[in-house]
């Protein structure tokens, strides 16, 4: 393993080399410090019930843990970041499998889990060709695994659910891990996660302020056209400015391309949210689990990130490329 690779994987001393990382980390910490004050003001001035107040504090406490779980691995090194993304993939797949009932199909679930483990290895090894090959290979294995109970009844359902689970929580989220193979992965990942969360907040606020026309009332009755457009208008320039500093002096660093990236992130992020709303509405559920107090499940919290990861990865990869100049097949050699 080269010195550069070791520094990327475990070099926490480089945590604050990039000023975007410093700004985003400080912003996140400041928001966490300011939030209690805002909660007190909101609950004292408004007529909020004690139940609403408890929910706000639950959300705040959960955000402290979430922020630590996001920030610490990213700052600590690419190795820990990739492991954190793999953990997120497993937790998301677990919730998906439990709400759809796929978890009772042990063979298919085992294949998906092994597929995610292998994807994680391919990312850690910076072996992109294996990462690409694992999607069709795992799909083929799921199709074979679905034959195992020798029960054709329900074959399409269990195999279809298995493939969708692996595609979303293995392959799609895996792109987030792949970004960690870039030397400058810290600001990239922090900027994407920050922008996706802001996008959700902007959609919520704009929906309340200007939302009159329902967007997709059957899928998500609270989403409005005003909220969706407001999120695009606010997220896009903010993200483009951050991206300008991250990818400065590269082929991506033109106003049109940066704004294009911002628009893609905002639109796809909102579609990720709607995708999970559709899944939950189809199953008649409100939340995917109660793992995170005040938020619901891991999927409820990170739904917008699932589709954003491959969209942003391939957009940036087209113009700039990820992991340029980094050692490949680190462990395999």
């Amino acid at each position: 393993m080269s010195q550069v690779t070791r520094e990327r994987l475990f070099g926490f001393r480089h945590a604050f080399d990039d000023r975007v990382t410093v700004v985003l980390t400080l912003t996140a910490l400041s928001l966490l410090l300011l939030a209690p004050l805002l909660i007190v003001i909101v609950t004292r001035t408004g007529n909020s019930s004690s139940e609403k107040e408890k929910e706000l504090w639950d959300r705040y406490r959960s955000w402290i843990w979430l922020a630590l779980c996001i920030l610490l691995p990213i700052l600590a090194g690419a190795f820990w970041t990739i492991l954190a993304v793999a953990t997120l993939s497993f937790l998301c797949y677990r919730e998906y499998a439990r709400i759809t009932g796929l978890f009772r199909e042990r063979t298919i679930s085992l294949i998906v889990v092994v597929g995610i483990l292998l994807l994680t290895f391919s990312i850690l090894d910076n072996w992109y060709r294996l990462f690409v090959a694992l999607f069709p290979l795992t799909v083929a294995l799921i199709a074979i695994g679905g034959l195992m109970p020798d029960q054709p009844k329900g074959y399409i359902q269990r195999v279809g659910l298995g493939v969708l689970g692996f595609a979303l929580f293995g392959s799609a989220l895996g792109n987030l891990g792949n970004m960690a193979n870039d030397w400058n992965y810290r600001p990239i990942l922090l900027l994407i996660i920050f922008a996706v969360e802001l996008n959700d907040i902007f959609a919520y606020i704009c929906g309340h302020l200007f939302g009159h026309r329902k967007f997709v009332p059957n899928t998500s009755p609270n989403k409005t056209v005003g909220g969706a457009l407001g999120a695009i208008v606010l997220t896009t320039p903010l993200f483009a400015v951050g991206a300008h500093f991250v990818w400065s002096s590269t082929a991506l660093d033109t106003p049109v391309r940066l704004l294009g990236l911002g628009i893609i992130l905002s639109i796809v992020g909102q579609f990720g949210d709607l995708m999970l709303s559709s899944i939950k509405r189809d199953l008649g559920l409100k939340d995917t689990s109660k793992l995170i107090p005040g938020h619901g499940g891991i999927l409820d919290r990170f739904d917008s990130l699932i589709l954003v990861a491959p969209a942003v990865f391939h957009y940036v990869n087209y113009f700039v490329g990820f992991a340029v100049g980094q050692q490949q097949q680190i462990f395999i050699g």
């Binding site: 499998a97 439990r98 759809t100 796929l102 009772r104 399409i156 359902q157 559920l285 939340d287 109660k290």
Partner: protein, 221 residues
Amino acid sequence: MQPWNLQPAHDTGLTPNERFRSVRRESGLLESLAHQVCFSLLRTYFAVAHRLSIVGRDKLPAHGPFVLAANHCSHLDALALGASLPPHHRDRAFPIAAGDVFFQTKMTSTFSAIMLNALPMWRKNCGPHALADLRRKLQEEKAIFIIFPEGGRSRNGSMMRFKHGLGMLVAGTDVPVVPCGLVGTFEALPPERGFPRPVSIKVLVGDIQRPHRLIAGRCER
């Protein structure tokens, strides 16, 4: 095409702590692995430390649902019965444990659920609903329940009068009951002892009893 038949986990919507204490709990891949590892280790422990012998294992039904009912005089009883089951039964085996002992704190309920796959029976407020939930789980999930009909551990090793729980659970169903005798667990770990003695333990599996002659009356009231 087959109508959609996959259903969300029965424990969907419960917090992790509620889930561990719920009879609606369904194990996933990791938990199933934990049960297998735990009972395999227990099997090894009982074989080495207690020279565990099982008489009449061929009398066990090939698949669930069924109930293992045994005498109870030691904390080793449920573990010995669980370890006596063949590996393909272990994931569906649920020792029914006293809620006020094994599910009182977060730590004990997590351990009891993840490692032992135990389900709680709240002795002080075990109403018809709790039994109905257990009966539903037994039948729908083709489960194997490990039950001690005396309702608690005998303090002197001799068998006590049976409580009504077992009869109320299986009355009106065709779930077979397999009576089991545990010999040596009281000598190995009586209620007042903290650590077991290396005494040999024997599990005697009896003939299957069919409860269809019991009338589902008492449990419905």
